[in-house]
């Protein structure tokens, strides 16, 4: 068994997903099955084979640094869940003390 229910719960916390117990019960065996299947990549003799992160081979691509019109503050904030004083209003990020 490559992955346990506790490990899935830990990964969900790292992923910032508040999984319910019922979902954990359902997801853990599925993930175990998937990870067992994808572990097949370990059969491949890949000693000395360089990794590919993407296929184009392009590196350090920049576009010309030209000023163009940008969103107004109103446009940028129009889809925000909460706004205050022309800013994104978010829940507190620090503890009380």
């Amino acid at each position: 068994m490559p992955i346990t229910r506790d490990e899935v719960a830990h990964l969900a916390r790292l992923s910032r997903i508040a999984l319910s117990d019922a979902e954990l019960d359902h997801l853990a065996p599925q993930l175990d099955q998937i990870i067992t299947a994808v572990a097949q990549v370990q059969e491949v003799a890949a000693e000395g084979i360089p990794p590919t992160s993407h296929a184009t081979g392009l590196t350090n691509v920049f576009r010309d640094d030209e000023p163009v019109p940008c969103l107004t503050p109103e446009e940028a904030l129009a889809q925000a869940p909460a706004v205050e004083q022309q800013r994104f209003k978010v829940p507190r990020i620090l503890g009380e003390d």
């Binding site: 993930l31 990549v41 890949a46 392009l58 129009a78 925000a80």
Partner: protein, 495 residues
Amino acid sequence: MELTRMTAAELSAALADGQVSATEVTQAHLDRIAAVDDRVHAFLHIAADSALAQAADVDKRRATGEQLAPLAGVPVAVKDVFTTFGMPTTCGSRILDGWHPPYDATITQRLKQAGAVILGKTNMDEFAMGSSTENSAFGPSHNPWDLDKVPGGSSGGSAAAVAAYEAPLAIGTDTGGSIRQPAAVCGIVGTKPTYGGSSRYGVVAFASSLDTPGPFGRTVLDAALLHEAISGHDPMDSTSIDAPVPPVVAAAREADVSGMRIGVVTELSGDGYQPGVLSRFAEAVEVLESLGAKVTEVSCPHFKYALPAYYLIAPSEASSNLARFDAMRYGLRVGDDGTRDAEEVMALTREVGFGAEVKRRIILGTYALSSGYYDAYYGKAQQVRTLIIRDFDAAFGQVDVLVSPATPTTAFGIGERADDPMAMYLADLCTIPSDLAGNAAISVPCGLAAEDGLPVGLQVMAPALADDRLYRVAAAAEAAFTDRWGQPLLASAKG
């Protein structure tokens, strides 16, 4: 003249000749959507007002004698993964329900500049993760050949819209097969262009090293017309290739395979493939041979590891990309009652806002990238990716294109694989290698499987930036098959 039955090429000619107006063409398609989409559910958003306004603008410009692009006045349906100013963009997810992006994707812009009329946004598996549209938060689309079957995915809404004559053209994205697999099971044409050949700017990211926008059409020429209209370098996408667009429309018109070297991939057949799919594929290979192509068998020994490598690479990239849905700047926010901190609100929002498959993939990707497992999973998958590219390089040293079935089976039933992730993943068995290698591939209809009467797709794969070869081969096969059948395949669909 039934406008919704015409191809994009026919509509383009009729519009240019003044036989029909863009407004009439658009209204005919909106009427068709109104008549059938409650059964097909191809669309998440129908943009009737803006479509008619766009059509009126095309008609006005044409009346002044302005030279317009080939697709001016031709309707197109757009997958709901592309940002569209003035229309919602949900990506099939609750977390983006009601989001109105403040900008257009490059492809949306190019469609508008070409005068193509955007009918609306099509249904998809949430964040393009899936092969059936059953992972859409807004309910599945239905296959026009049999409404109890899936239309494939993730671009299933786009494929269903074209197959049901709701639109002559549609745009999708292909990350592991999300254009070719739905095209195959809906009996239409779908292309994954060379990675970097079509812009990702404004495409909500799933797996950035794989995501590739591309066209759907009912004919090879139609797909080529849309391919050409959306392609080309975009400075807003750092992975966009600065090279001329391959001559896809000319190749579709030439439709000549005489002397071409075509390789049949040994590893993309055998166990797990439906007999009716394999026999239609074998017949397609014979047809290409009879048209003068030189057919050989080619082995790509690492292709059997493409599926496992993909299900490590794509979820890894997704786990990083989807971190942006944090409930702070846009989209859903849940549980912000003043007592909870930002992290708790984030976790509650993502719990409610994401569906099961998205959660599975985020967790899988987080696992594959975590310290201790990185080398054994993500690192190894990246090495397998290199080996798959080498298999392609060796194969394309011997042949001009490779062919295989586009999917191992025809359309499966709605609900049949919904809670069996590994069974669902197998739908992309044949399409994943080209995504990992970043080359070009197409699916073109090659008949109906004997056992269920459902469409089968022939996949053609070509080296990066040789997209024109796809259209040359697919158009030749299409012409030969249409002669044989006496009509296009789709004409035999019941609906």
